[in-house]
């Protein structure tokens, strides 16, 4: 907060003054085009939030463990249906479209990931995953802090981060970087009448800085209005020429990935994308509900990487899933599962060293009915930051966490 305030006071000229927008835009594109020089240059991260608490056990199925069938008598995935990854573990059949990525070593699965003192509230646990702060309340998200850190000393980029969806997720909240939230192309603009448009362009686009009074927030609001106006004006042009190589699923998730692919191909230096899919909160009738969502996930990600590969940019994009928690080991009386703890994370993309990482958590050695985690989620973040995005993780995460080998 204080950082942001200092920034506001210092940024009298604004971080995207209306006259400078085109040149900033051009600079960002040039910087992105000159990739390869610095570590992490030209690379981006897509974070997929499996919102609502995705049941890990029916996603990555331990079909070799008889205990799985004892604790999940009615909602288990039959061993014969599992898409086998080895003799013990396999994928929910709805994830079959992802199997080619696994076979090409472009999909990594991290088992048993969570954080100390698990919180079983959706809100709080989501916040913990998004802020990377399990033990305190912080105002910024870890991706937002990364964008601030990576963007220090460089020209501001309108599209440094992009969140697909209706509201800015906490993961993207930053002190200095304003991340546009884009529901869809049509909705991401000022929706006034045609008659108003020219004047709205002037007002939102930065007409008139000289107020007869001082207010620390006035320049912030003006700047963000400029930013919103510029971004919403630029976006349709950026993605106008983009032709997906494959048809994306007609789901909001699939269409969101399509939009992200368009922005990736515009090559404007976007470092982090965010999209969410849900709700995975399957207290009742889990199989049908979860299967439908896993199908959306698999068909969407599969289309996304086929499309990126056709445009020869799949090596530049790392995708990482997370969910606020996994679910209770034992099924409940409603053919569903209640809130739990540890769960697997999935990574996709050219940079990934494919395979299974870590052991599957025990189904008998439990913590009040929940799986015990063994991998701290901040180790995963640290790995992505250091080995993929090429920055030190300590300034972003607050302390140093060990890194892994999945990328």
């Amino acid at each position: 907060m204080s950082n942001r305030r200092q920034f506001i006071v210092q940024s009298i000229g604004g971080f995207a003054g209306f006259l400078a927008i085109d040149s900033i835009f051009a600079r960002a594109a040039r910087a992105a085009a000159a990739s390869g020089a610095a570590a992490g240059a030209g690379r981006s991260l897509l974070v997929v939030n499996l919102q609502g608490g995705n049941d890990g056990l029916n996603t990555l199925v331990p079909f070799g463990d008889p205990q799985y069938y004892r604790v999940r008598p009615t909602i288990n995935v039959a061993a014969s249906d599992v898409v086998r990854l080895d003799s013990e573990i396999g994928l929910n059949p709805k994830l079959a479209p992802l199997k080619p990525l696994f076979d090409q070593q472009r999909m990594a699965i991290l088992q048993g990931v969570h954080y100390p003192n698990p919180n079983l509230s959706h809100f709080r646990s989501t916040e913990i995953w998004q802020t990377a702060a399990p033990d305190k309340y912080v105002d910024t998200g870890w991706a937002g802090r990364y964008l601030d850190f990576a963007g220090r000393g460089t020209a501001p980029n309108l599209f440094a981060g992009v969140a697909v969806g209706p509201v800015l997720p906490k993961i993207m909240v930053a002190d200095k970087t304003d991340v546009p939230t884009i529901g869809d192309l049509r909705g991401f603009r000022f929706n006034g009448t045609r008659d108003e448009q020219a004047e709205a362009d002037k007002i939102l686009g930065g007409d008139g800085y000289k107020y007869p009074f001082q207010s620390p927030y006035l320049s912030l609001v003006q700047d963000v209005e400029n930013h919103a106006h510029a971004a919403s004006t630029q976006l349709p042009h950026m993605v106008a020429g983009y032709k997906p190589a494959i048809e994306y699923p007609k789901t909001p998730f699939g269409q969101g990935l399509n939009l992200i692919a368009g922005i990736i191909n515009a090559n404007v230096g976007t470092k982090v994308f965010y999209i969410s899919l849900g709700s995975f909160d399957t207290h009742v009738g889990q199989r049908a509900a979860q299967d439908r969502l896993l199908d959306q996930l698999a068909t969407g990600i599969s289309a996304f990487y086929q499309d990126l590969a056709a445009h020869k940019v799949d090596d530049r994009v790392l995708t990482m899933t997370f969910s606020e928690f996994g679910r209770r080991v034992e099924e409940n009386a409603n053919r569903g599962t209640d809130h739990g703890t540890a769960a697997p994370m999935f990574l996709f993309g050219g940079g990934v060293k494919g395979g299974l990482y870590g052991d599957h958590p025990s189904l008998t050695d439990l913590d009040y009915g929940n799986l015990k985690w063994h991998t701290d989620f901040r180790s995963v973040y640290a790995t992505v930051l250091e080995r993929w995005l090429g920055v030190g993780s300590q300034p972003v995460l607050g302390s140093q966490f060990s890194t892994m080998n999945f990328v």
């Binding site: 907060m1 942001r4 305030r5 506001i8 919102q51 509230s121 809100f123 916040e127 309340y137 105002d139 969140a163 697909v164 969806g165 209706p166 509201v167 800015l168 909240v173 991340v179 939230t181 529901g183 869809d184 909705g187 603009r189 000022f190 929706n191 006034g192 009448t193 045609r194 008659d195 108003e196 448009q197 020219a198 004047e199 709205a200 007002i203 939102l204 007409d207 008139g208 800085y209 000289k210 107020y211 009074f213 001082q214 207010s215 927030y217 006035l218 912030l220 609001v221 003006q222 963000v224 209005e225 919103a228 269409q255 999209i275 969410s276 849900g278 207290h283 009742v284 409940n332 409603n334």
Partner: protein, 447 residues
């Protein structure tokens, strides 16, 4: 000015409903009827935002909001029913300018609070420290004025307070779960109860200081000087935590009217939406407003965490500003506000209201007054007068010459830039459009 403050702080009886209109009960648990629950949330949210709009005592509703963002609880979280939130909201209303110490006692046995901070699980045999911790960290003393041992000891004092769901969702004290042993808290030792803990907290100078800073941030500017905080804290303690006295001091102070306090606070989404309804002479807030509020980052009765909405710069980002401007535009154009909220719903938990609001009643037009009433008295042949009136109603004239010229030019030209005169045919449309453009001025986001 003095008279205006008098009117603000002296509440008159109102005839507004003390309860949402309609059935807000629903079955808890896994078999909950999702539609019924959504309907209950909408009715409850609408009840509160309509009170904000319709009240003859605007300061009272501002205080209710202040308390709800101080003593936070979240509808539907930890089993908190809409009725519990309504009751808590009414508790804040009846103590709006009352005794902060007394309110803290009341909140410590408020059913929604007991559930929100898990005091229902706080038992002698297995204490849960959540309420004790937040009581000190966020509701009274502030960090640095107590130890972890103080938290453990005071948590024991609150054991036994829980919620009886079967009989009216009331708070009950169960002596079987209460730890009546000796506790040592902030240097004092005794067989303390929760009430004793609150009393001891109220004796600490840090409490008045923490609260003074919070009031200053909410009503003056959000980085108050230590001198200002100390002065307010002294008055607050001297007045034995009488919030009415403190608010009188604030509202009559030089600093409240100073240049530094001028447009120094970013409007909350609720302030923005309610304020715009008032400017447009609306008599009622429609369900679509809840969806829009959600997208602006403020679902009523659902703060992001126990620390409440942090406010300030965090209200302002590309997505929320576009939502703010678009919603106000729709309101001024009196179209369906659903169109303003028109993105595909794909959100995190916070978009709950959005789902439900988009399922019902969204096509209602905003219930605003006739545009000619917004600018009554402005003559048809006076585009400058119309522009200035609109600027006065929205930003009290705080527009730069360029901004004023832009709106005037809108009033005087058509969509392809040809000069037009105001006439019976275009007057209403131009008033709406000018209002919409004025809502988009950066100054409108600040209070």
């Amino acid at each position: 000015m003095g008279h205006a403050v008098d009117r603000l702080v002296h509440f008159v009886p109102d005839s507004l409903p003390a309860q949402p209109q309609g059935d807000i009960s629903y079955q808890f648990g896994p078999n909950a009827d999702v539609m019924q629950r959504r309907r209950a949330y909408v009715l409850t949210g609408l009840w509160w935002v309509n009170r904000m709009l319709q009240t003859p005592n605007p300061l009272q509703e501002k205080m209710v909001y202040f308390w709800s963002n101080h003593f936070t609880s979240g509808i539907g979280q930890g089993g908190i029913s809409p009725q519990m939130m309504v009751n808590q909201n009414n508790l804040f209303r009846s103590n709006a300018l009352g005794d902060y110490a007394r309110l803290t006692h009341e909140v410590s046995r408020d059913p929604a609070m007991l559930l929100y901070l898990n005091n229902n699980q706080n038992r002698a045999q297995l204490p849960n420290e959540n309420y004790a911790r937040e009581l000190m960290e966020l509701f009274s003393l502030g960090v640095g004025n107590y130890t972890e041992a103080d938290i453990r000891e005071s948590a024991r004092a609150f054991t036994g307070w829980t919620v009886n769901r079967r009989f009216g969702e009331t708070a009950v004290f169960n002596p079987r779960f209460h730890d009546d042993g000796s506790k040592t808290f902030l240097g004092r030792t005794g067989n303390f109860t929760g009430d004793d803990i609150v009393d001891i907290i109220m004796q600490q100078p840090a409490t008045a200081k923490y609260m003074a800073r919070k009031f200053a941030r909410a009503f003056i500017y959000d980085d108050p000087e230590p001198e200002l905080v100390n002065a307010l804290a002294d008055r607050f303690r001297a007045a034995r935590y009488d919030v009415g006295v403190l608010m009188n001091v604030i509202l009559r102070s030089n600093v409240f009217y100073s240049d530094r306090a001028y447009r120094a606070i970013v409007k909350t989404p609720l302030e923005l939406v309610i304020g715009a309804h008032k400017s447009l002479g609306a008599t009622r807030v429609e369900p679509a407003a809840l969806a829009a509020l959600d997208r602006m980052g403020q679902t009523p009765m659902r703060p992001p965490n126990v620390a409440g909405w942090p406010g300030g710069a965090l209200w302002v980002n590309t997505g929320t500003l576009l939502m703010r401007v678009n919603y106000l535009n729709q309101l001024a154009l009196a179209k369906s506000a659903a169109a303003a909220a028109g993105n595909t719903a794909m959100g995190d938990g916070a978009t709950m209201m959005d789902d439900m609001a988009s399922q019902q009643a969204l096509r209602m037009p905003a219930n605003v007054a006739d545009p000619s009433q917004w600018v009554s008295g402005v003559k048809m042949d006076d585009p400058a007068g119309l522009t200035d009136r609109v600027l006065w109603m929205t930003v009290q004239g705080d527009a730069t010459p360029q901004q004023r010229q832009t709106i005037l030019s809108y009033v005087q030209t058509d969509s392809v830039g040809n000069k037009v005169s105001l006439s019976m045919e275009n007057f209403e449309e131009k008033v709406r459009g000018a209002m919409s453009l004025a809502f988009a001025l950066p100054a409108y986001q600040l209070s």
